[in-house]
Symmetry: C2
Subunit: 341 residues, 2 copies
């Protein structure tokens, strides 16, 4: 039976949904990084054939969804619900990508945590009996994000040492009520955590306390030790945020030897000059839908805790002197449908 104790943030899914198809589309720089072989499509110039960066981002998202549907062997018309989000004002990356898809649509805003938010809601709707198939698709694009959050590319602004590089990437997953796995067995939905960081070029530090909160809560709610997982993968804390997360957990006596971060995995720190690592909704989404899920299928890992993190601020809130609220959702993924407790 599906369980969620009052006061707990974790749902134990009675009928863990299966990843029926997953795919990603990335930009040129991402395709030159260490995870190149795990991407389904690598663009040659980041335009994806479109005349504006916003339309390029939508095109990327559309293509990732089409590839994931194709791998799942399902037409869009079979999908009961589509959950989608991105970083753009009014989430136009998603609504323009979903236009014409003919799938009942839920627009999400969870900043870089959106893949986790979408997988949580998609799993719950399928487990709750509300359909057979659900899709999740998210994206980010370096050029749309720079223009919107920082400065136009032409300005050539210098990046601070703690800055992260917004990934040009879209990731899509199709979940099915039945299937051979990997399965989503638990979801821990995050609360907003804000420790007062006001430097919007240090989002790792702003998001690390949320990751700490959600991961600790997940372990407490499930009674699992960190070592239960082959990998505990945060979204895009980057180098600095990851260090902070490990330090926070260490204060509770938890030593994470199995931690990694999508923002640290996607670019090569030596040759790709991204400072603290990658970021953006597309970062965690493209690493999950390629490197991580492919690795599970190949038998590299059996249990992964996927924890994308988001910074829920805006340029306006920053200009008004506000700090950066963070959030993190944790998704437990297993090759076994009924994993050991």
């Amino acid at each position: 039976m599906t369980t969620k104790k009052t006061g707990s943030q974790t749902v134990t899914l009675a009928c863990p949904p299966s990843f029926a198809g997953h795919a990603n589309v990335v930009g040129k720089k991402e395709g030159e990084g260490p995870l190149a072989s795990s991407f389904d499509y690598i663009g040659t110039d980041d335009t994806f054939g479109e005349s504006t960066w916003e339309k390029s981002e939508s095109a990327m998202q559309k293509q990732a969804l089409a590839l994931a549907l194709n791998k799942a062997g399902q037409p869009a018309s079979n999908i009961d619900w589509l959950f989608a989000g991105d970083l753009l004002n009014q989430c136009i990356g998603s609504s323009f990508a979903a236009r014409g898809q003919e799938i009942p649509f839920f627009g999400l805003y969870g900043a870089c945590s959106t893949m986790g938010e979408g997988l949580a809601l998609a799993s719950m709707t399928l487990d709750g009996g509300f359909g057979e198939w659900a899709g999740v698709v998210v994206s980010s694009h370096f050029c749309t994000a720079e223009r919107q959050y920082r400065t136009p590319l032409e300005y050539g602004g210098q990046r601070t040492p703690t800055a992260q590089w917004t990934t040009t990437a879209a990731g899509a997953a199709i979940l099915a009520r039945e299937g051979p796995g990997p399965y989503i067995t638990h979801v821990t939905v995050g609360k907003i955590v804000d420790k007062g960081i006001t430097d919007t070029n240090n989002m790792g530090a702003a998001m690390a306390p949320a990751a700490y909160d959600t991961i600790s809560t997940h372990l407490k709610d499930t009674g699992r030790a960190p070592s239960y997982y082959d990998l505990i993968v945060t979204g895009d804390l980057g180098n600095l945020g990851s260090e902070l997360l490990l330090e926070l957990l260490r204060q509770d006596g938890l030593e994470l030897s199995n931690h990694t971060d999508c923002g640290m995995l996607i670019f090569d720190p030596q040759s790709q000059d991204v400072h603290c690592g990658g970021s953006g909704c597309g970062c965690a989404a493209s690493v999950l839908t390629g490197y991580l899920l492919n690795g599970m299928r190949e038998g590299k890992w059996n249990n992964i805790l996927f924890c994308p993190t988001g910074a829920l601020h805006s340029p306006t809130s920053a200009f008004q002197g506000e700090s950066v609220p963070g959030i993190c959702h944790a998704i437990a993924i297993s090759t076994q449908r009924s994993p050991q407790a």
Copy 2:
């Protein structure tokens, strides 16, 4: 048993959740309109004690949620999930309002349809067995919306005849798995519909086809005639959008004598100079959580189909020549837990 047929967009809830508490907070102009007596709190100057309009909007949302929790007799710590959204870039109205609430948080972006999106997801999570209590809160503010979507207020731009007036309002609802009603019995989740309207000052026309699509689908999926409902209430189509909706339904032989629109209800067309009516997430939300649900409790209506509509564009997409994608979600609300078929 909960049912959702493949290909259908409608969920019939097995265990219809009950509105345990609902409240709203509105601005001065809204408080001078015909629905004044249905609002829980009317601000005197639209600042709600804050120094920027964005912070005012968050304050409004926070207060609406607190009032709804109070009416439900529940502390925030009892709420399993909070679904929240607004119109601001990166949805800061919601994330700053939810900061410090200690409730697992799902950020939504559905433009003015967000109250419907939130109620759909909240009902599904409760019906699916994932908790006992869920909250939904959304907001809009005339001054944040004008600055962001159109021109700063100081500019004094003239409004076109088809323009609508963004409502300064927040509405919150607390749903419970058990309770005396009114109940959410069905949800029909909308698809994105775009008929090529590019005039962002004519959002009623952009959203009417989505309302038509979702209402028709709801009636088909449930086998109900329009007359089943005492009221079919669209979100904020305004005068012109409402006319278009009725005309589209008339072409299918459906005559809606029981239609009204939150955007037409909230302001007085004679004395309040709002052109085509009200709009904004807070419009449908504050009309639902006051006038409509209070009316059901008073025995005025037994069955309402609440259909908030959203225009999923952004200033950027408009500048790039894109049309305005629309969406509409339909929420069937009944004073009876097991309404007649």
